[in-house]
């Protein structure tokens, strides 16, 4: 919608370019595009060309060697499947649990238990994973959760506080009257939530989902420490192999990063408009 407005505006005022702003924006675009170009071109280079000191040169000869090596070294299909499992699990669990919790908290705000549980959940934002890593490694080990499911559980827990914060803010803007009308029609709390509130939360769920997706897909530390069976390791951990002090394998690493980045970029492209919608919608209503 904003795009349409913009094009209309610029076409009516013919040929007036705001040069300073354009320059700044072009520079900003370059900071994103240049590294991306290096990543892509590096991935298609041969080993010799990858270390020759000319990062910006075009790959010649064009080589798929990096991709082949990255594919086999990381056992890409399995790694991607694990990453996908962990990410999907974390996204679903975060959206559902955070929505549940936020709904309960917002509708019972006047009760002390709910108010304090909100603060309790928010408190987790102040605890970074490394601080509690050691006990959690032991705990998950003892409970048989030293696998992707343990990671889903922990990642969801860490995502919960921020997501609850987002959801509660959004929930407050939904008028009580809507819910009262559903009650009059005889809906239970459960039905009200699923039939009325949860659909209304959709834009915010998309936002929460994207945050959870990016976190779970890119996380290195938690899966590396929690998952004990190397066969079940996620992609970022498998890729750690490429970064060593003594050797540079830019072409293999970049090919591998490119393959790992692809889902995140695709997911963002598809859900981007919901994020925008979520932000603007909230702003208009508030």
């Amino acid at each position: 919608m904003t795009n349409q407005l913009m094009t209309k505006k610029s076409s009516s005022k013919v040929e007036r370019v705001n040069w300073p702003a354009t320059t700044v924006l072009v520079l900003c675009a370059v900071t994103v595009l240049l590294p991306l170009y290096v990543t892509v071109s590096m991935a298609f280079k041969t080993q010799g060309q990858a270390v020759d000191g000319n990062a910006f040169s075009f790959p010649a000869p064009f080589s798929l060697e990096g991709f082949v090596q990255a594919w086999t070294l990381t056992n890409f299909p399995v790694g991607a499947a694990m990453s996908l499992l962990v990410t999907a699990g974390t996204v679903l669990a975060t959206i559902i649990l955070a929505a549940f919790a936020s709904y309960a908290i917002v509708r019972n705000w006047e009760r002390r238990l709910f108010r304090y549980s909100f603060f309790y959940l928010l408190g987790a934002m102040f605890i970074p994973f490394p601080v509690v890593a050691l006990p959690q490694i032991q705990l998950t080990g003892r409970l048989g959760l030293d696998n992707p499911f343990g990671v889903i559980l922990l990642a969801t827990m860490f995502q919960l506080s921020f997501s609850v914060l987002l959801f509660t803010a959004f929930l407050r803007s939904i008028p009580m009257e809507l819910e009262e009308s559903a009650r009059i029609d005889g809906a239970t709390t459960w039905q009200t939530f699923w039939k009325l509130i949860f659909p209304l939360l959709a834009p915010m769920s998309a936002t929460v989902g994207i945050f959870a997706f990016l976190y779970a897909w890119n996380d290195f530390m938690m899966p590396s420490l929690i998952i004990s069976d190397p066969a079940m390791q996620t992609l970022p951990v498998r890729q750690n192999l490429f970064q060593t002090q003594f050797s540079n394998n830019y072409h293999v690493s970049f090919a591998s990063y490119l393959m790992a980045m692809a889902p995140a970029i695709v997911a963002y492209l598809f859900t981007q408009r919901w994020v925008m919608a979520g932000v603007t919608q909230g702003a208009v209503k508030g």
């Binding site: 080993q47 010799g48 270390v51 020759d52 000191g53 070294l73 299909p77 399995v78 991607a80 499947a81 694990m82 996908l84 499992l85 999907a88 050691l134 490694i137 032991q138 998950t140 080990g141 030293d146 590396s224 420490l225 929690i226 004990s228 069976d229 190397p230 066969a231 079940m232 390791q233 951990v237 498998r238 750690n240 192999l241 490429f242 060593t244 002090q245 003594f246 050797s247 540079n248 394998n249």
Partner: protein
């Protein structure tokens, strides 16, 4: 997502399945040296095919994961890993089992034992066995040396003369990569100190002094390292590339492969990197001479790989079986040949690669030392200190800081 779940299901069934096929005991083998994974994968496959009692699974997920597995109580059954201060924590706390009864242990060279024990030991146990020793010294470009009629220097004054001759011919004597602090610590600092100070003796005394390390103690960094560090600065100030401060390890490999300098203070790991851009370059090695006596020449070594079996492993016997296989002469020789490493067993049939030939006599005669930079616990940022010295910090006060840090750490422990 459907695809992911399908793959997962396949994987899980693959892990738990095949009960009827055989009752092979599965052991997990941790190995994460990136350059040698191809070699090890083949080795493991050969071993698995050669017998039907043990199935070795190669785990390449790295060091952090291993630490976590110790915390969890399910460490790998056997590992070949870099031997350093970090691994020594497992040794000192008795987390690794005794390997003294194995045939592999009996084949390891006796004179390497002090090097292993320098990192600490557990009473009555041989906790880890060296598998691959990396020797490092000055890498030099044979063609440049020959073109300028320079012989390999064996004394400090010969070294300075060689540098002068190279300078006169318009060749940069040393290529330095000071942007990466570890290259200063590993090469410049360690070679300079190790070429003059007996590090084995020095650190033994330093440990004994503990909290008393300072200007009054029998040994101290400020006293014993002052002279070597000054000599290092002599080289660092006059005979390096002008842009040394902004060059990183990767740049150094590239520049050296292009013949931009005659000497390079790096270990054998740099050879394969240099070969990426210059596979036919003729390179050699010689220990950095720091005194006027050629008998003082020594090379820096580190135990690149050591084998250990955790106490908490439930498959120690099977792991020992695999350990013996790893130490078979043809296996250990083949591995070290492929990685330009030295075999730490008493008898070896390895013919050294011409690039590391220059270090053979020193290694075989035990004229080796471990670099002081790796013998200082990681809590003390020695790499940064060495970088500061090279960048112009006064060496005397920096070494005093090092003493103070050492004493403080000893006080805390």
């Amino acid at each position: 997502m459907g695809l992911g779940l399908a793959l997962l299901a396949g994987l899980l069934s693959g892990c738990t399945g095949d009960p009827g096929e055989s009752a092979k005991e599965t052991i997990r083998f941790t190995f994460s040296k990136r350059e040698a994974i191809g070699f090890m994968t083949k080795l493991v496959a050969d071993y698995n095919a050669s017998q039907d009692e043990t199935e070795v699974v190669l785990d390449t997920s790295g060091v952090d994961v291993v630490s976590a597995s110790f915390v969890r109580g399910n460490p790998p059954d056997i590992a070949l890993a870099n031997y350093n201060m970090e691994t020594s924590r497992f040794v000192q706390r008795g987390a690794l089992s005794d390997l003294s009864g194995t045939e592999a242990a009996s084949r390891v060279r006796e004179d390497l034992r002090p090097l292993m024990e320098q990192y600490g030991s557990y009473p009555g146990r041989t906790s880890a066995l060296p598998y691959s020793v990396m020797a490092s010294s000055v890498i030099y470009n044979k063609e440049i040396f020959a073109a300028n009629n320079i012989a390999v220097p064996t004394t400090w004054s010969e070294l300075i003369a060689a540098c002068e001759a190279l300078e006169a011919a318009g060749v940069t004597p040393f290529y330095a990569t000071w942007k990466d602090d570890w290259t200063i610590a590993q090469g410049w600092f360690d070679y300079s100190v190790g070429g003059q100070v007996d590090t084995l003796d020095f650190f033994k005394k330093l440990d004994a002094e503990g909290v008393d390390v300072g200007p009054e103690s029998s040994v101290s960094f400020q006293k014993d390292f002052d002279q070597p560090v000054r000599k290092m600065l002599t080289l660092a100030k006059s005979y390096v590339n002008k842009d040394a401060a902004s060059r990183a390890y990767g740049d150094g490999n590239l520049a050296f492969s292009q013949g931009k300098a005659a000497m390079y203070l790096q270990g054998p790991w740099a050879f394969s990197e240099i070969a990426k851009t210059a596979p036919d370059l003729k390179l050699g090695t010689f220990p950095l001479p720091m005194t006027e006596d050629p008998n003082d020449l020594r090379v820096r070594v580190n135990v690149d790989l050591a084998a250990w079996i955790p106490e908490a492993s439930k498959h120690k016997d099977a792991a020992r079986g695999f350990l013996e296989y790893l130490y078979r002469p043809e296996v250990i020789d083949a591995y070290n040949k492929s990685q330009l490493g030295f075999t730490p067993t008493k008898e070896t049939a390895n013919v050294p690669d011409p690039r590391i030939e220059g270090m053979v006599e020193y290694y075989e005669n035990g004229k080796v030392y471990q670099g002081p930079s790796v013998l200082v616990p990681r809590t003390i940022p020695i790499m940064n200190y060495t970088q500061a010295i090279v960048f112009g910090a006064p060496p005397a006060s920096t070494l005093r800081t090092l003493d103070a840090d050492w004493a403080r750490l000893a006080f805390r422990q």
